[in-house]
């Protein structure tokens, strides 16, 4: 049901763009105004959310440790799953953010012959990686539209991405891989009863949105054969604040860009913010050194004191003396 809602929502967005540009002739709105607004909302929203998180203190040092602590010399210390220094913690975070280290551990549970079974389940890890990295590649490739001259690194990424030399226009690997990745993520959500059970509209919506962005992009490139020179004119116009709407831009471009704008605007208000949140997770970004170094809690209340020894002794002085236990004050 939630998946269906999301699908309808995405369709509505596509129709909105088609109608807006074809019938209502609002190419200017869709092509220039909205992208500027979307980028602004994205940047401000992202920063706002990060600041909002960062404003709450981290009162306690609570890393989840994933291996042997640093202790005696002869006991091997697992530096990157149980870091004690900033450097080691940094590497833990790099592994987490660039390699999805925790997800790599994933197992799946089953019941068989009266036993609980555990099987390695790296699929989610693999397809998430595929998805995120191809997304990154695609974003980098698209940067060619916003630079003149085009930086060499973008050209290089593009060249690598199309290195398979399949078809004309050349097929990009990232286009294929992102579709594979995102389809897996969606299929998994629909297929696995447990996941379907926990999935909200806000889980399907971004997936479907990204699928439609990718599809519209592929359509532009392979079917509509859009005029890239014209599009570059348009994008450069935005970047240089001299907006132009070239005549011969196919409507599929407007659909594509409208969906991208939706994603940008949606991003800061949604779970997509995990992209920022992953940096701030106190169970991962802290070293496990609270036994070694002082960690300050800004709201630690000095008035909370233990039940005092004096009160304790007052309570039990007589039996203590009788039992021969030392006391501070004789009865």
């Amino acid at each position: 049901m939630n998946a269906l809602y999301s699908l309808v929502l995405v369709f509505a967005l596509v129709l909105l763009a088609l109608f807006g540009v074809e019938t209502a002739h609002m190419a200017k709105l869709f092509g220039t105004v909205l992208p500027v607004v979307a980028v602004a909302v994205f940047l401000v929203g992202f920063a706002y959310r990060m600041i909002k998180w960062a404003k709450s203190p981290v009162p306690f040092c609570i890393p989840t440790t994933g291996g042997q602590q640093k202790s005696l010399d002869f006991i091997h210390h697992n530096k990157f799953d149980n870091p004690v220094t900033t450097g080691q913690t940094f590497i833990r975070m790099v592994l987490e953010i660039c390699c999805f280290r925790s997800l790599f551990r994933n197992t799946t549970v089953g019941l068989k012959d009266g036993r609980v079974t555990y099987a390695s389940a790296k699929w989610l890890w693999l397809f998430s990686l595929l998805f995120h990295y191809s997304f990154l590649l695609i974003v980098i490739r698209h940067m060619r539209l916003f630079f003149e001259p085009i930086p060499a690194v973008i050209g290089f990424v593009e060249m690598l991405d199309g290195i398979m030399q399949i078809g004309t226009p050349r097929m990009y690997m990232s286009d294929v891989l992102i579709m594979v990745g995102v389809t897996f993520l969606l299929a998994r959500r629909l297929w696995d009863a447990k996941l379907r059970y926990i999935s909200l509209v806000t889980d399907y919506f971004p997936l479907l949105l990204i699928i439609s962005i990718a599809l519209s992009g592929i359509y532009m490139r392979f079917i509509a054969h859009v005029d890239v020179v014209a599009i570059k004119q348009l994008t450069m116009g935005i970047v240089t604040f001299h907006p132009v709407i070239p005549a011969n831009v196919d409507v599929s471009f407007y659909v594509h860009i409208f969906l991208v704008c939706t994603l940008l605007i949606y991003f800061p208000f949604s779970k997509l913010m995990h992209a920022g949140g992953v940096f701030l997770s106190p169970t991962r970004n802290l070293p496990n050194n609270s036994r070694i170094k002082h960690h300050e809690n800004p709201w630690n209340d000095p008035n909370i004191k233990p039940h005092s020894y004096e009160a304790y002794e007052d309570d039990f002085r007589e039996p203590m003396i009788e039992a021969g236990l030392p006391v501070e004050k004789d009865a």
């Binding site: 203190p57 009162p59 306690f60 890393p63 106190p282």
Partner: protein, 535 residues
């Protein structure tokens, strides 16, 4: 408990297919056995906690304070401002489900609300409604809901079906720690007077008598005397145990379960024998006679209050550093909270083993050393006179307690100790040990009999793992370093792997130690005859 199903029946009843109704529309079962008994009035009154009253989770009316919704809302807001963890964890979950089948309670029950992600969603749904714009407007689309009495009741059930073991956190790509969320939810429940007796009574006892079992000082001394007697019976040697004495180098604190309950007492005897053997200059304390901290399951403030005793006592007695016994929750608090809340303990010194000279740099700030770190170091330096053959009748495995494993990383020290006192040691399957260890299902104050079926369900993964080493390697003993484990693992292994017993690591050390001037041993510390040495 009479109606606890047989192990294989219980196993067959597990079904991972979620119900056809959405989770917000699936009612919660409030029949007895599904919840822990509410806290007694006098315990809450003693601790000064809100809304003490007699109530029953089975009743419709929970006698909540009139403005309970405001209390929860304000409390929630306050905690969002105080804890980045809560704020980030409320926002960034992508519901990828990587954590879903990592929780022992889910594995053993199949109840989808025991999937960590959904457990957290119980709280997140309210967060969205109360604190996010989208959630306020687009209720169903964003999965938000109003905080009603039913929601609060659901919280009570499911946040007291989480042992705060953090296994889910290990697998989450963002490190979302459902234990942290559970802690916050329990704080909010406590603000309304919705809490359980098995946490509040120990907390009240810890505060007053120094330990959760409510053992008073003179009784504590008596118990120690009994153990000294037993040690004499086994070894022929009478040892001296200082209590509440000033001017000793080390203050030793262990969970009171070790002093009181079988089989913890054997572990305690092991400690005492070890200290005698190396001539450690130490004292016990009756005022700080509990390492386990039931404040951890109540609120940060309560945790701080109870834990403060350790430093206060070390200061009063003039100790140089503190040695801590085998205890899970105690070490979570010591490792992650103690210095921040109760420190810095400048009046203490960086711990240095008086026997080997090793300086424990890893405890430079808290000045507290774990006994297995201490003993492993002694063994490495060959300072102990050991006869491991005395443990030949024991074929052991090791249960990593969640807290030391996932909030500290104390994994190899106990293994090192075990391997020095024992020939037959076998690991349970990889997915169930070390940082991936499974909870005993009785942690965080859930070690109570009225929820025995829930505990046995939660104990399934550990029980299964145990059964497999029992079958493959004839394992007959599961060692652990947590007093709650020593209490909860016994019914668990009786249920899932009958025939396996439970012990602390230092019980086996005690068995193996050759004390100066001791007699030929005929029994182990449990007074059971040593094979081949029968009188």
């Amino acid at each position: 408990m009479a109606d606890l199903p047989k192990a294989d029946e219980l196993f067959k009843s597990i079904n991972y297919t979620p119900p056809s109704t959405g989770w917000m529309d699936t009612p919660v079962d409030f029949s007895p056995g599904n919840w822990c008994y509410p806290a007694k009035v006098d315990k809450l009154e003693y601790l000064g906690l809100p809304n003490p009253r007699v109530w029953n989770p089975e009743d419709v009316d929970w006698k909540l304070p009139e403005n309970w919704q405001d209390i929860v809302h304000e409390g929630f807001k306050e905690r969002l401002d105080k804890y980045r963890s809560l704020k980030v964890f409320m926002d960034v979950c992508v519901r990828c489900g990587a954590c879903a089948d990592k929780c022992h309670f889910f594995i053993g029950s199949g109840d989808p609300k025991n999937m960590p992600v959904l457990r957290a969603e119980l709280m997140r749904s309210v967060y969205r409604k109360d604190f996010t714009m989208a959630g306020k407007i687009l209720t169903t689309l964003t999965g938000s809901r109003v905080m009603t009495e039913d929601v609060l009741k659901e919280w009570f059930i499911y946040f007291y079906q989480c042992t705060e073991c953090r296994r889910c956190s290990l697998f989450c790509p963002y490190g979302i720690d459902t234990a942290e969320i559970t802690m916050m939810a329990r704080e909010l429940l406590t603000l309304c007077g919705v809490n359980i007796n098995w946490i509040m009574e120990p907390a009240a006892n810890c505060n007053r008598t120094g330990n959760h079992l409510g053992i008073q000082p003179h009784a504590f001394k008596d118990i120690v005397e009994f153990m000294v007697d037993d040690i004499e019976e086994v070894t022929g040697k009478r040892i001296n145990v200082p209590i509440n004495e000033k001017g000793h180098e080390v203050l030793f604190i262990t969970p009171s379960g070790d002093v009181f309950a079988d089989p913890g007492i054997y572990t305690f005897m092991g400690y005492l024998m070890l200290f005698d053997h190396i001539g450690l200059d130490y004292t016990l304390s009756t005022y700080a006679s509990e390492g386990g901290n039931f404040g951890l399951f109540t609120s940060a403030d309560m945790m701080k209050k109870i834990n403060g005793k350790m430093y206060a006592e070390a200061k009063r007695l003039g100790s140089k550093w503190i040695l801590g016994g085998e205890c899970g929750h105690m070490w979570r608090v010591i490792n992650q909270y103690m210095d921040t809340m109760n420190g810095p303990a400048d009046f203490l010194q960086v711990p240095k083993s008086p026997i080997t000279g090793t300086v424990f740099e890893s405890a430079a700030q808290t000045k507290m050393v774990h006994i297995t770190e201490f003993t492993a170091d002694l063994m490495k330096h060959d300072k102990l006179n050991l006869d491991p053959t005395r443990n030949d009748h024991i074929r052991a495995t090791f249960h990593d307690s969640c807290n030391p494993a996932r909030a500290m990383g104390l994994l190899d020290e106990p293994r090192y100790v075990l391997n020095n006192v024992l020939k037959n040691f076998h690991e349970m399957p990889e997915q169930t040990i070390r940082e991936q260890t499974f909870c005993c299902a009785g942690g965080s104050g859930l070690n109570t009999d009225e929820i025995m079926e829930i505990r046995m369900r939660g104990g399934l993964p550990r029980g299964n793992a145990l059964k497999s080493v029992q079958e493959e390697h004839d394992v007959n003993m599961m060692a652990c370093i947590c007093a709650i484990d020593r209490a909860t693992l016994i019914p668990l292994s009786n249920y899932w792997a009958p025939g396996v017993d439970v012990c602390g690591v230092h019980e086996l050390v005690g068995n193996a130690l050759i004390l100066d001037g001791e007699k030929e041993r005929e029994t182990d510390l449990r007074l059971e005859p040593l094979p081949g040495k029968e009188g």
